[in-house]
Amino acid sequence: MKRAILLMLWLTLAILGGGGSALAHAALVEAHPADGMVVEQVPATVRLRFNEPVSPLTISLTDAQGRTHGGLAAASRSEMLDIAMPPDLPRGTQILSYRVISGDGHPISGTVIFSVGTPSGSGGVPGAEVSPAARGALWLARVALYLGLFAGVGGVFFTAWVVPSPPSSKVARPLSGLLALGAVAAVLSLGLQGLDALGQPLSALGTAAPWAAGWRTSFGLTVAAAMVALLMARMGLHDRGERWRRACGLLALACVGLSLAMSGHASAAAPQWLTRPAVFLHAVGVAYWIGALIPLALMVRRAPAQALPAVRRFSNGALVAVAALTLAGLVLAAVQVESLANLTGTAYGQVLVAKTFLVVALLGLAALNRLWLTPALGNPNGSGGRRLVRSVVAEIVLSLAILGLVGLWRFTPPPRALEPAAEAAAAASVHLHTPNLMAQVTLSPGRPGAVRARIVVASGRAAPVDPKEVTLVLSKPDAGIGPVERQARRAERGWEVDGLVLPVAGPWQVKVEILVNDFEKASLEGSVTLRP
């Protein structure tokens, strides 16, 4: 027993240590050649740049004659993806479709269309959409996993820490059922996650590929931590010694928090030092609360008066848990949604609004239980027991609905991730580099007029650098426009120049002067084209 716990602890630590590099939701920032561009010669490679490191899942190219080229060599170097082009591409419009996966475990796909020589018709856009059946299964598995973690593991924690005696078989049986359900769901969702990542149909679940792909995403860590949590809870449920039950319950609860903090939109958001602990707290709070509901209802139904001390203890702990999970939830919502308009304007926001309504209703029920129904339990002649059971059952139903809603978030990118993608679509940008330094200059909007420039500087190996000063120089000699020199100001992400006015469309010469330190200055040059 002791060894098993040590092994679990070690596993948990190993998982913790390995999960440090998750990143925000990926979005394509730039393609070279750019989407819609006409180039004279077949490029040797197409370079895709994302806002964070990605790995390629599937890449396909449909050329102007409608032929599909598979198995293109794609080299990913941090946020850059270089895709080698077949040399014998015909003249005309080529369609390059990609599906990549980023640190938060969410695959994103997109298409870059470029033309060699002149634009032409093409053989149609290949799709990589996941079937509704696979998505439905993924959602179901996700909800079942939540049930196992929150109701199952949370329930075991409740029986170990809040109830003074070991659980009766009447309480233990549904809990171990929930744990088993969670374990099955955890394993299944690994394969389903892989299907989603590869864009394959449900029937491909019999092959090894989706399972391996699912494991490689950050969701693999979530499943591993979830399995540890479920196993620990299962051990804690049936152990005789009170101390072991408590240790197992506590560790299992911590693993629930870890599991959810390992992957997902919320854990992937920046700043990570804030979002990961917030997800952890949120999950632990939820497990404490939801986990107590089923055992509570069963205990109160059987013997209302005897259940009173446990209900009181739970109620006191719940105050702390609810405060923590509400605070953490608000922090995460603020990070993810960014502005009030996004609450109604995006699918993610709509799910959040619906969830908030349900949570408020749930809080109302909880307050009712604490303030009126629990004290009534002490009255031996009253019907407080039955009322409390009814109210707790209502809480369970509401919680189920909330978990179902939360499962939908799997399919809705948060507003914070949507914005960069939309901005990138309208911007003009250029990548400049020397062996030691590179800079990405983005002009948005990418049309003549008032323009805002953003400059992101990195070392030649894509490591971040912190220059002392960055100066942007733009000129258009063919239109007689001399250098427009502006010192950039440090912004949240990189450097920015506001209030630039670039009067004409066409190619502009760009120079970025970077003061690396007091004595070293680098100058990077290139050109960027503004659309008319």
């Binding site: 007091d518 070293e520 200055k521 100058s523």
Partner: protein
């Protein structure tokens, strides 16, 4: 008449020669053989956009060792010592660290000219016929600074830059004695 004309032409030619040197911060001796001791005289012709010079900082490039700045009345002097990029042979002694930066602090009004002197050994690890640059940062009143640190890229010369680093051309080592 002819002499006046000639004098005028001479003056013009001289002006054209030294013109940019007056504006920029430059070295007096602009060539020196490797494996020899070099006396660097930095000529500072003006402040930064009219502001007086309050500090002059010189970065010592790799391959230049045994640096000794000359004290300057009215100016405080300070050196920053750090390890070299490798060890250098200095008359049979292996040198692994030494002065990498010299800082003079004082005050030089914009309308005055001054010179800052240091002595250094140009090791034989430096390539003859290449340029050697001593980046200089001139810090002035009002938080202004002129950074004479631009090192010309391949195929360009110091004239192509607004703030070129003072440089000297390295010559082959003199015959050993």
């Amino acid at each position: 008449m002819t002499t006046t004309l000639l004098r005028g032409a001479l003056a013009a030619a001289l002006l054209a020669l030294v013109g940019p040197a007056l504006a920029h911060t430059t070295l007096e001796a602009q060539q020196a053989p490797v494996a020899s001791t070099y006396k660097a005289v930095l000529r500072v012709g003006h402040g930064c956009e009219g502001a007086p010079t309050l500090k002059l900082r010189v970065r010592i490039p790799d391959g230049v060792v045994s640096v000794k700045p000359m004290p300057k009345p009215g100016w405080e002097m300070e050196t920053v010592k750090a390890p070299y990029d490798r060890t250098y042979d200095y008359y049979g002694t292996a040198m692994a660290e030494g002065v990498r930066e010299i800082v003079w602090t004082g005050k030089l009004p914009d309308e005055h000219y001054d010179e800052f002197v240091f002595r250094a050994y140009l090791t034989d690890s430096l390539k003859p016929d290449a340029m050697l640059y001593f980046p200089v940062v001139q810090e002035c009143g009002g938080g202004k600074a002129d950074r004479w640190i631009e090192i010309p890229a391949e195929g360009k010369s110091a004239d192509d830059y607004k703030y070129p680093a003072p440089g000297l051309k390295l010559l082959p080592a003199k015959a050993t004695h």
